[in-house]
Amino acid sequence: MELDRTLPGIQSLKHVVVLMMENRSFDHMLGALKATNSNIDGLTGTESNPDTTGATVTVQPLAEYQSQLDPDPNHHFAAVNLQIFNSTQHGPPLPANMQGFVASYFNQQQNTQHSHDILYYFTPDKLPVLTTLATQYAVFNRWFASIPGPTICNRAFAHYGTSFGQVSMDVFYEGKDIPAIYVRLLNANHTCKLFYFDEASSTMEVVNLLQNQPSLFGTFPDFLSACQQNALPDYCFIEPNYTDHPAPDGSGEAIANDQHPDHDVRAGEQFIATVYNAIRGNPNLWPNTALLVVYDEHGGIYDHVSPPACPPDSPFVAQPADTGTLDAFAFDRLGVRVPAILISPWVAAGTVINDTFDHASIPATVSDFLQLPAGNRSVREQNANTFLGNLTLTTMRTDDECPTFVVQSQNS
């Protein structure tokens, strides 16, 4: 759908910010919201998987912040194939019945009872930030990981619109002919930045962007400073903290806030709130900024929605040796559904978006909004839906109508 540039929210828009978190499925984080808003395609409570004894296991609102999804659920291509198709060998034309999550998690520890934990989901009260943002702004019912696989190749879709035929974490894509969105922006005289949390966490974009274009990067404190100084670039991408480590600046303990299992989910809630508050708290920034909070992939955790087909990312094909199944993969179907929320004072509270999106929608949206030259873009990006058309309000929401968060200290 062509962007309506007469929308007041689009006319006001100057900055697009994307925060990409880690490894949680839509139903795991937001599925409980169906109970209060039937338009949200979450859980009824009757969804289930068989376990390895053949017993039917039902989803439960028993997700904990930490120590539950340990060991880490498998989210590589072959394991996700099992989760979606209940088969370790083949995908389509088998039905995508989403019945293999418990069986897949059983493989991590051979513990029948523990394997049931993969069906647990959070009650809304445990996720005050994500719940508030999803209900007070726009939640996507159909944002999927770009491929049914792990982190680095999915994140590649957010940066390049493609993973260059990779379905694994070994994405050494140097010298490829599809430039990252950041390069395209710079070539068109726009500003952009990738903000990682700190140098000790750094970025997942190592071999290409960090090595060859280190000036693209900044730290999370740089992001906060940019917000305070009204100096946000036209587009920026934020990465969370991927590890527990002593802060490089000597300021204390830096707890992982990416929400990747087994990191404490509350740390990620505080991180999301901090990003939101930095924009929301600046009256010069808030009217002019759209923030997308999205997750890179489902982390092997249950979701009930079958991923759809999509245009193949020609010419790329992953062979069975790479997929770990008996099938090649033409990048012609999406990964499992993930939480995605669009935040702006030009978005009506309670908005639910039903069009299909994946991470290729990110460079597609930025490119479309800033009217970049067409250039060399992946097939997937060319066909991806864009999301800024959801800034539909004719009048900006008032300050009282938009939530704020108080990030508490550890002893609060």
Partner: protein, 109 residues
């Protein structure tokens, strides 16, 4: 609309000795690829070997990230306790021996 409180995780949630995850293992391999290719980043081999925990991996990642972003000198960094000296790198970085967490292993505290 009243501000919404966002509670912090407990102190016990922090575990820098947690074994590296599959994701972190892959990130480390990418950094090793760059270190090997560049050959001139001046990473302390002791740091490059101590990458089995999140904190150890973070130290290695910080060293290479600083080097790539043109901050090669430890003295130029903000004050950090026990900052190791950087010595010229060997031609090949230490082989990645860290194994990602595959079983229930909460790591030592």
């Amino acid at each position: 609309m009243d501000p919404i409180a966002v509670p912090a995780p407990p102190r016990s949630a922090y575990n820098p000795n947690r074994r590296v995850s599959d994701l972190l293992y892959s990130q480390l391999k990418h950094f090793q690829h760059v270190e090997l290719k560049r050959g001139d980043l001046g990473i302390d081999p002791e740091i490059a070997r101590n990458i089995h925990t999140e904190a150890g991996a973070a130290q290695y990642i910080a060293a290479i990230t600083r080097a790539l972003r043109g901050k090669n000198s430890a003295a130029a960094s903000p004050t950090t306790p026990n900052q190791p000296k950087q010595t010229p790198a060997k031609k090949s970085p230490a082989k990645l021996t860290a194994k990602p967490v595959a079983r229930n292993n909460k790591g030592k505290r």
